[in-house]
Amino acid sequence: MAVDLTLAVLVLGLVMYSVLGGADFGAGFWDLTAGGASRGARVRGMLKRSMSPVWEANHVWLIFVLVVFWTGFPKAFGPVMETLYVPIFLAGVGIILRGTAFALRGEAATIGEARVLGATFALSSVLVPFFLGTTIGAVASGQVSVPADPDSPFSSWTNSTSLYIGALAVATSAYMAAVFVAADAVRAKLPDMVEAFRKRALGAALVTGAMAIVGIFILRDDARFLYDGLTSGAGLVVVIASAIAGLITIALLWTRRFALARFSSATAVAAIIVGLVVAERPDFLPGELTLDQAAAGDSTLVPLLVAAVIAVAILIPSLGYLFKLVLSGQLDQEFHPIGASDPESTR
């Protein structure tokens, strides 16, 4: 019971990070693909305006995931870190780059500086979701053994499932970023940006959907037990829920109801993560460690869950206040095209 609840807390953190942190990284993807300095200026300005205020809060979810992981499931945490250190370290490098880009946002005074900043932002936006995605893929497809085998630093995460989940994480990040920014553009009353990001969101939704279908075949060949888990019982229910949420998002985007599309797109992504976990059960590290074996004892899990309840009680009103201010536009930044003739920074 305590183990399942702890798993639920861990999954909740992972979902929040994938949705909120993912949207942030996805913004970097659109920055990367926005085109030349003058053509992409408005898109980049819009991205910066949307992503600035809540960056740290979004990224603290990752720390939350790590601490719940090592406190709740220490026996799995050690081997995962000791086996998958290459992608995890590279994700860490990406996080440093993203933090640097965030600290610098709005401070670039010349085209040259803006380019360096953009490149850093874009690079991190691909590095972090890709390598964290491959890490999850490697864990889910049973690449981590107990005790850890640190002598396969590359083969442990370069199987097709790991690489696929990494690519999927980049795609879902871009998808959510486009949906979120489109909704922001409505609020900012910038119709051209609404259309620009609506197009991007629809495109990303189609690509992500197509990837999901391809993924079924990849998993069938590379991680049969995962495929079986996702195509039967509770796993199948979650997969169908994800597909429905994805289709609803496309419909909402088509009819320009962006505020609702935020939630349905987040649901679609959340369902992917939940689906992986459901398909694994009762294993944490497939074939090596069950959830019960990986978990700490109840003497640790119960206080951890109490702490989680306290955290929720404090965080919900705090986050609610933050998002209320953000969504009502009270913390909004001014819109400035980036890289065009007006290099003036916002406040």
Binding site: F77, G92, A103, L104, P153, A296, A307, A308, L315, Y321
Partner: protein, 454 residues
């Protein structure tokens, strides 16, 4: 200690680059800890400044608080990054430690994560909320930042205290068992560490910020803005610096009691000695302290408040369980030397302020304040080297060695070099950014707004 014997509880890991792994962790701490000072102490200083504005209605204070809050946000953003990297490294470099003991001390980190979260949320609201939410609400959103800064650092330090004085578990048949996380959390060893670090935060942040305006002062910028921006952080740091001497004494005595070998390393004391001498200053080279002033019986007096007390030497444990004395002793000396210097500087300032009700006039004072900030950072890091390297070879004192905690992975030097390069870039960018921010013209504040907001 009911978990004895522990000698063979864990297996040695074949890791030729243990030293590099430790240095990589130390590098990350060296980046993170000065930022922590700005997360823990600086918000209180900023909020005090905003409070002055509310009390007086003078917009200068508001200008300062607003400017500083931008610095606070930048440094916090970098702190989120370095904190995340530290979390990664705990697992990447010390997976066996996390595997065995994650469930023992992890609770503190879970609660710390909550503090960090609250801090992130309210720092965002505070910094982006200027002129957008009412003055009163704005001030109130600063309070959770201060509180969560305290609780966050408190919780992290309980873990460090636990590593130095482990409790809350038993080892039976080489297995960590009977875990009691609350006992580990309140292990009773962290109080001196917490206050020592918390006060250090105010010294570091206070002197660093004051130093910026001391330089401006020397260049003739002495208007109300610069004067206020100098006096507030300087006063904070100058109150904290003498207090730190007392806290340092307390910390030293606690170490003497719980970790005698660490104390022996502080002093380079080879053999257990009754009425041990204290050597002031000097550099430890080739197994002895050169150039220090030796005071007979002083160490016994300092450590146990008794000149005849017996102080355990390094020889009280086998050679394999002794910390590297050179690093520990020299770091300890550096901390003491700088800390005492800062306290003297503080005394000079406080004396002038209270007796003559003015700032010191000599230009030397402002030159010293300008270097006090960087010096305080050196003392801060030296202090952490003292306690962390002084704990070696243990990661969990007298239970698990770093050789048993380290990863078996290859490529530690590659990771270390990569991280060093990336961090060098990050640090350069932050310095560049802060310099640019300092050159930006101040925003105009409209006095009329004060009345409108009440």
């Amino acid at each position: 200690m009911d978990w004895l014997p522990v000698a063979d509880a864990f297996t040695q890991v074949d890791q030729p680059y243990l030293l590099e792994a430790r240095q990589m962790q130390a590098l990350s701490f060296g980046i993170h800890i000065p930022l922590v000072c700005f997360g823990v102490a600086f918000p209180a200083i900023v909020l005090f400044m905003e409070g002055l504005y509310h009390r007086t209605g003078n917009v200068v204070y508001r200008q300062i608080a607003k400017r500083w809050s931008k610095v606070m946000l930048i440094l916090f953003a970098v702190g989120v990054v370095s904190g995340t990297i530290l979390s990664f490294e705990l697992g990447l470099l010390w997976p066996r430690f996390m595997e065995e003991f994650g469930e023992v001390f992890g609770l503190a980190f879970a609660l710390e994560g909550l503090s960090f979260f609250i801090e992130a949320i309210f720092i965002t609201i505070y910094v982006y909320g200027w002129d957008r939410i009412s003055d009163r609400t704005h001030f109130l959103t600063g309070i959770p930042i201060v509180i969560s800064g305290i609780t966050g650092s408190f919780l992290v330090i309980t873990v460090n205290g636990w590593m130095n004085n482990p409790s809350g578990f038993d080892i039976v048949n080489n297995e960590v068992t009977n875990v009691r996380p609350l006992e580990a959390l309140f292990n009773d060893f962290f109080w001196h560490e917490f206050f020592h670090m918390y006060v250090a935060g105010f010294i570091v942040a206070g002197f660093l910020v004051a130093g910026v305006y001391a330089v401006a002062w020397l260049r003739g910028k002495r208007d109300h803005y610069h004067r206020a921006a100098l006096i507030v952080p300087l006063t904070v740091a100058c109150i904290a610096a003498p207090v730190q001497l007392l806290l340092g004494d307390w910390a030293g005595r606690t170490v003497a009691e719980h970790q005698p070998v660490k104390l022996a390393a502080f002093e380079g004391l080879e053999e257990t000695t009754k009425g041990a001498a204290f050597t002031l200053g000097g550099i430890y080279i080739d197994g002895e302290i050169k150039g220090g002033i030796t005071i007979p019986d002083m160490l016994s007096l300092l450590a146990f408040h008794d000149p005849n007390a017996t102080v355990e030497g390094l020889d009280s444990v086998p050679e394999g369980e002794q910390p590297p004395v050179g690093v520990v002793r020299n770091a300890f000396t550096a901390m003491i030397f700088i800390g005492s210097g800062l306290a003297l500087l503080a005394a000079a300032y406080l004396f002038t302020w209270f007796r003559k009700a003015r700032l010191p006039r000599t230009r030397w004072f402002y030159r010293l304040v300008a270097i006090a900030g960087p010096a305080a950072v050196v003392a801060l890091i030296a202090g952490w080297i003292t306690t962390e390297v002084g704990r070696q070879p243990w990661v969990v004192y007298e239970v698990m060695k770093t050789t048993e905690a380290v990863t078996g992975a290859e490529g530690v030097p590659i990771g270390y070099a990569t991280l060093a390069v990336v961090y060098l870039g990050l640090v350069s960018v932050v310095f560049w950014l802060l310099r640019r921010l300092a050159r930006q013209p101040l925003e105009r504040e409209l006095p009329a707004k004060v009345e409108a907001a009440g």
